[in-house]
Symmetry: C2
């Protein structure tokens, strides 16, 4: 793979021709990411495979965070928790390395985002635990296959649209904070079908948490997302909102946890789990 795709190529630059969108093997996509040749968003990459959010925490916080995920399954659907100190997600993606196989990482210290890096090998510690939380990019392929519009995939550069809401997560231990949601606009009859399609994928956020009036969940302006890029909401369309795995990052800020490493929003870990392995069938 010769063309490097950087972090900010996500905005305004066409990636449509990049050969990685044609690649069908998740191992090959991870290899390109590991080599640092893809630092952009992972939306629409290997659409048949399950993508995940990544949260890495010292063991001291791991049990609290596990309970936090259990109490907030819509934004934080857990797919795997690694062994202490082991960066390999053995169950979903044997052979992968959570220190290198994510396009970009964010490092949070004492409730602040302090750094964005493409490799965390030098940051890794023996007491780290990795959490993989299902990502809604996974069901976007199913929506497209069902004939539904996914506006973020219609642009020259596949993207997403996410907002911090006024919905408070159920706290656990030190972890508390607001739910983050992704938004996709649909015509009403498509919105009904989108509920049906995404209900089949509870392990990658499942059905929407909200539909319609954004102000009901504290979103002031649909054209000013907190993460990703704005997408057009056309006349007569209903915005649909799904729980989003950026939530732990909002929680890191709110909770002031000593240390949390996550993926950068939109730049996910790609597993070896086929999309239908996380569906209800």
């Amino acid at each position: 793979m010769s063309t490097k795709v950087g972090a900010r190529e996500g905005v305004g630059v066409s990636q449509q021709d990049h050969p990685l969108y044609q690649e069908r093997d998740p191992r090959e996509v991870r290899r390109v990411i590991r080599e640092g040749d893809w630092m952009g968003y992972t939306a629409n990459l290997v659409p048949k495979y399950t993508q995940t959010n990544v949260v890495i925490l010292p063991k001291a916080y791991a049990f609290d965070f596990l309970r936090f995920c259990m109490r907030n399954p819509k934004p934080c659907p857990l797919l795997e928790v690694t062994d202490i100190g082991d960066p390999e997600p053995k169950l979903t993606t044997p052979g992968a390395d959570l220190r290198t196989d994510v396009p970009r990482y964010r490092i949070f210290k004492r409730g602040k985002l302090v750094e964005e890096v493409t490799d965390i090998t030098s940051h890794w510690k023996d007491d780290f635990v990795g959490f993989l939380l299902g990502c809604s990019f996974t069901f976007e392929g199913a929506m497209v296959d069902a004939g539904l519009p996914v506006r973020g995939l219609e642009s020259d550069t596949p993207t997403f649209t996410a907002f911090v809401t006024s919905i408070e997560c159920v706290p656990a231990g030190i972890f508390h904070g607001p739910m983050v949601v992704t938004m996709r606009p649909m015509e009403p009859a498509q919105a009904v079908q989108a509920v049906q399609v995404t209900s089949r994928y509870p392990r990658v956020h499942g059905a929407p948490v909200h539909m319609g009036d954004p102000s009901q969940i504290g979103i002031k302006d649909l054209q000013k997302p907190d993460f990703g890029d704005p997408v057009e909401v056309r006349s007569g369309e209903l915005p649909l909102f799904w729980g989003c795995g950026i939530t732990p990052q909002a929680v890191a800020l709110a909770s002031g946890v000593d240390l949390m490493i996550t993926h950068a929003p939109g730049s996910m870990f790609i597993t070896d789990l086929h999309r239908e392995e996380v569906s209800l069938g």
Copy 2:
């Protein structure tokens, strides 16, 4: 059963205490209806059983109407078609009589509603064919069981709310006309769940055909339904719209068919099919 319930008791008079709401045997409810002691709405009667719309046509129109139902399964989900001249719906409700077992009937002639009666024995002809189309009263019990609000059942007198829309049905032979829908308001998160619950019941209209802005389907004022009674739509609620088996009555008016006999809106035929017999399981 000693207390007669007439056609217009549906509005403003409490029926809550009527013993028929406690009855759990559909045969007993049909007996009361057959004896003319219940001419009101059937919402919330034997909520575990499947209720249906009724359409009766001379054989000459039956094939066209059958195709019409096949082409419009959301408003017209067919549960049974009787043998020519036979008023007994043998498959769903052996022993019942479509001439007597509906609380009220409407008779349409040459595209006009000419009469409302409680018994059509004297109108029955040897060439009549009966069509049973699933009714959304059937899934209202499932919604209640799931903790969802059904506003029409919260009033003193169980009722419903239905509108003629600007959605044109797919025509078949002489049959054409607008889709009629029922409306139930929900909070957005409940609306998501209502899509999930009703998706399990495609044979009694299934998932909504529309959500949100009523004007998109030609409804001007939610407080002025064409059938049933208005219900409160509270601040922050989303109106949901389901296909409705009153559609053939709107079609009778639009198509000018020589003769069609139907149930009166809200006063349904109650079958012996358990609700779960028409679910996806």
